[in-house]
Structures are given as C-alpha cells and as structure tokens.
C-alpha cells in the first residue's frame, strides 16, 4: 500500500480534496490579484473603530429637524407602493398577452414575450440611467425604475403560472359558448388571483429595499439623503437614518409576510 493510498484512502476523497484545494488556491490567487487581505478586516480594525466612534451616538434630531427628512421617507415608501401597484398591474396584463392559452394571436404573444425577455436582460443600472436621462434625477425616475424592474421580475413568472392553469374548467366554459374573454374572467382569473396578490405583496417587500437603493443613484427619497449625509461626513445623522431605514424595511417585510399568509390561507 503506497503512502498516497494510506493518506487518501478512497478515490472520492481524493477527488474532493483536490477540488477543495483548487478552490482555496483560486481564492488565494484572487486575493493576491486584487489586493485584498482578508485578515485586514481584523488587523485594520481601528478604522472600523474610528468610524463607529464617528457614527455613534446616532443623531436622531436630524430626523425631526427638517421636515424634508420625513418627506424623504414618504417618497421612498411611495416609490415602493406605486412601483408595486403599477408594475404589478403591468406585469399581469403583459403576462396575459404573453401566455399561450390566453392570447391566440401569435404576433402579439411573440411581442409580449420578447419584451419581457428584453427587460430581464437589461441590468438595473442601465434602467436607472435611461430614466434619469429621460425625466431627470429624482423620485420619478426611481419610481419608473421600480415599475420596470417589477415587470421584469414577475412578468415571466406570471406567464408561466397562467399557462399552467387548469385546462378542464376552461374547456367546459368554452363548451357553453363563452368567448375567450369570459373564459379568462371565470376560469383563469379565479385560479390566478391568490398567487398574483401574494406575489405582489412579496414584490412590495422587494421594492421597498430597491427604493432605498435607488435613492443613491439619483432616485431620491431617503436613500439619497443618506448618501448626502455620508458625503458631507455627517455620520451621526447617517446612523439615525440607517436605523429608521432598517425599522421601515423590517416593518414592510412583516406586513407583507402577514398579508401573504392571510391571502394564501383564504384561498386554500
């Protein structure tokens, strides 16, 4: 029995060991390449300490002092709310146009499907850019971005859901002489409604986070205020903002989860 066999008894073990070795090696190489020192976080910790010193205690007065901060929060929530509402509606409409069992006209269907595919490919950054150029920096651009990304995210999903809807009830409704629109209204929509609503609620959760993000890129709202505050080194204000952002996001998440459970229970 050779030494290798003794240390690495089975082929599978050897395979796994070499794969792990490869992974560790590539990580090490990558670190060296990009100049990242993973231990730096701990050796240079004093930077973090300094920052924490500057950031704490949070300056909650910054929230009340100017009404514009409250307004900024309102803007961000509005962006998320409207973005979900409009985006969700558009996603639903588009998905009906793109589904094989609700849109018999190939041309329209092909158009809708390619539009949805296109939207999914364009990176979020590009979408923000387009809208900022179109309507300027601010919450309007942010809202449009949220709408577009919502459609991109849920359009294809909804299309698949519609195409997977039960066929038998639709067949029966056609058999009584109903038109396609009636079939959609009475067979497909009742089946889809609960999942649509549940997904839209989930989308609200996602969009809330997105709306904060977009603020930094010119979308306005509290994200922008946060960015500004950090830029001018008002770290204590920034911490206060961050605190409330977290509260807001968690709140929206809990509400969204709660309503989703209610909807799914009511439909079962």
């Amino acid at each position: 029995m050779s030494l290798a066999n003794f240390i690495l008894p089975s082929k599978k073990y050897r395979q796994r060991a070499s794969v792990s070795g490869l992974v560790i090696l590539s990580v090490a190489l990558a670190c060296a390449y990009i100049g990242f020192n993973p231990l730096g976080f701990f050796t240079e910790f004093h930077f973090v300490q300094d920052l924490l010193g500057e950031m704490l205690p949070p300056n909650f007065d910054a929230l009340w002092s100017s009404s514009s901060i409250g307004f900024s929060f309102l803007q961000t929530v509005s962006m998320a709310f409207l973005g979900t509402l409009y985006g969700g509606l558009m996603a639903i409409i588009l998905s009906f146009l793109a589904a094989a069992n609700t849109m018999p006209f190939r041309v329209i269907r092909a158009f809708a499907r390619s539009l949805l595919s296109l939207l999914r490919v364009i990176p979020a950054l590009g979408i923000v850019l387009i809208y900022v150029i179109a309507v300027g920096i601010g919450t309007f651009a942010g809202l449009l971005t949220v709408v577009t990304i919502t459609v991109a995210t849920f359009g294809k999903l909804f299309t698949e859901m519609i195409e997977n809807a039960e066929a038998p009830p639709s067949e029966a409704i056609y058999s009584v002489g109903a038109t396609q629109v009636q079939v959609i209204r009475y067979s497909i929509i009742p089946q889809m409604l609960p999942t649509f609503i549940a997904n839209l609620l989930f989308s609200f959760d996602l969009n809330m986070r997105m709306a904060v993000w977009l603020g930094v890129f010119g979308g306005g709202g509290i994200g922008f205020q946060l960015y500004l505050a950090m830029r001018v080194l008002h770290y204590k204000d920034a911490t206060a903002y961050i605190f409330f952002i977290i509260v807001l996001v968690i709140l929206v998440e809990k509400v969204s989860d709660f309503l989703r459970k209610k909807v799914l229970k009511a439909s079962a």
Binding site: A172, Y174, V176, G177, A178, Y186, S267
Partner: protein
C-alpha cells in the same frame, strides 16, 4: 334534433379513428355510446359540440328557429351560438374549484349573456334565482355557496349537471359522466340524467354497459371507428364480447375481468 352523418377522421399514418359514424337522435331518447378504449367513442362525442373537427362528415343540430346547422362547418360566433344550447357533462366535472356551486352553475349561461355584462357586474337576480332552482333540481341547493373544490365527486358532478340544466339546452352530451364515481353515486347521477331526456335528446359515452342497459333508451356500439350496433340497450353477452374483445369475462352485462386489469362495471 341531432343528426350525425358519416364522421371520418384519420391519423397521418392512415389509421382510421372514425370511419363513417352516422346516427340520428330525437327528443325523448337517452343514447348510450359504448366501446372499448380507443374505439372512437369520445372522439365522436367531441365532434358533436365542435371540440374536435373531423376530416369529413357532418353533425346537424337544430337551433331555436329549428334551422339545422352543421357543427363541423360553422365557426367562431356561430359555433358559440350553437354551443349555448348544448349542455356538456364531463368525466372530470370540469368545475372552477375556487368558485361556489352557484357561480359554477351561473357560468352555464355565459354564452347567452353579453361579454361586457358578464365581466363587469355578473348576473341578474332573476338568473341567480333560476340557477338556484337548477341546483335544487339536483338536490344541491343547500350547498350553493360552498366552493366546489371542497365537494365530493358525486356532488361536483351534480353541480355540473345543474350547470347544464341552467343552460336550458336543446341537446345534452355526457363524456363518461360516471367513470370517476363509486357505484352508489353513479346511480344517483344516472337517475338525474334520465328524466332530462324527456325534454332534450341526451347522448352519453359510457364504460358501464350495466348502467346503459338500465337507464338508456338506446345503445350505440362503436368498434375501431365504426358503428357496429344501434338499438336495444340490453346487449347480449356475445355482443359485449364483440365490443370489448374476447379476453373479457362478461356476466349479466357486467364486464368483470380483462386479462388481469379490472374494468369498472
């Protein structure tokens, strides 16, 4: 009331699924179509309301002005118009599970009301009352508000029948309506369908010769796409053997054993 002429349908490889099927059905008749699996009975039924189009042949149905239309030839709006008055009961019930029994029955008249109205505000009080009466006729009115998804098979089929009744049809079709039901429910359903045949011709596809013998007024047997028998619902054992193949053991119109499989009796 219903005249089927020479229905023909072939597969691309030449095999004939339907080969010159012809028969006529009048009011008062309850016709049961029997045949082995793949013989062509369900295909025939589907041709009767246009869910399937044959390669050749005609299906003449009379509308309320007593003008005969060929289901196989008419399209879209005319087909829809004819379908309003053709009731269909399916093997799988085909109800919208998330809607209540009452709503499912109301769906029966979707062809007869304008699209706009049906989308916006639904049905009138009068229509809703009539729907409830239809449910009462199948003894399901006490469950009118229940979601059909929570009903049993027999109850669902009764709602489906109520839906067909609500259409006030001139022709009633049934595609293996009792194949998914246990014997006692099957009997209930057959007992509900039978009296309807006094008002409208009923054509049903069945796998249960004992049921058709008891409730139908006439039986048509199809084998390999051709009508091989058309007459008295009580079939001789010989005839049954011919319809279903010699491997079957047949006792008193009940098919019992088929080479290791069990066939519903």
């Amino acid at each position: 009331m219903l005249e089927v002429r020479n229905l023909t349908k072939s597969l691309p490889n030449g095999r004939r699924l339907l080969d010159g099927i012809s028969f006529t059905v009048e009011r008062g008749e309850f016709v049961g179509i029997l045949g082995a699996s793949g013989a062509g009975k369900t295909l025939t039924l589907r041709c009767l309301n246009g869910l399937l189009r044959p390669d050749a042949g005609s299906v003449f149905v009379r509308d309320e002005q007593d003008i005969a239309h060929d289901i196989c030839k008419i399209r879209k709006r005319q087909l829809r118009h004819m379908r309003e008055k053709i009731g269909v009961i399916f093997q799988g019930y085909h109800l919208v599970k998330r809607l209540s029994a009452l709503e499912n029955v109301l769906i029966g008249r979707l062809g007869q009301i304008s699209t706009l109205r049906s989308i916006l505000y639904g049905f009138t009080d009068d229509e809703a009352n009539q729907a409830l009466l239809a449910l009462a006729q199948v003894k399901m009115d006490h469950l009118a508000g229940t979601r059909t998804g929570s009903l049993s098979g027999g109850e669902m089929q009764r709602v489906a029948i109520a839906r067909a009744i609500f259409q006030q049809p001139t022709l009633l079709l049934a595609d293996e309506p009792i194949s998914n039901l246990d014997p006692s429910n099957a009997k209930v359903i057959m007992k509900l369908i039978k009296p309807l045949s006094e008002q409208v011709p009923v054509v049903g596809v069945f796998h249960q010769p004992d049921m058709t013998a008891k409730y139908c007024t006439r039986v048509i047997a199809i084998k390999q796409g051709k009508v091989i028998y058309d007459g008295d619902p009580k079939l001789s054992d010989q005839l049954l053997a011919e319809i279903y193949g010699e491997e079957l053991t047949v006792i008193e119109n009940k098919i019992l054993v088929k080479q290791g499989e069990s066939v519903a009796s």
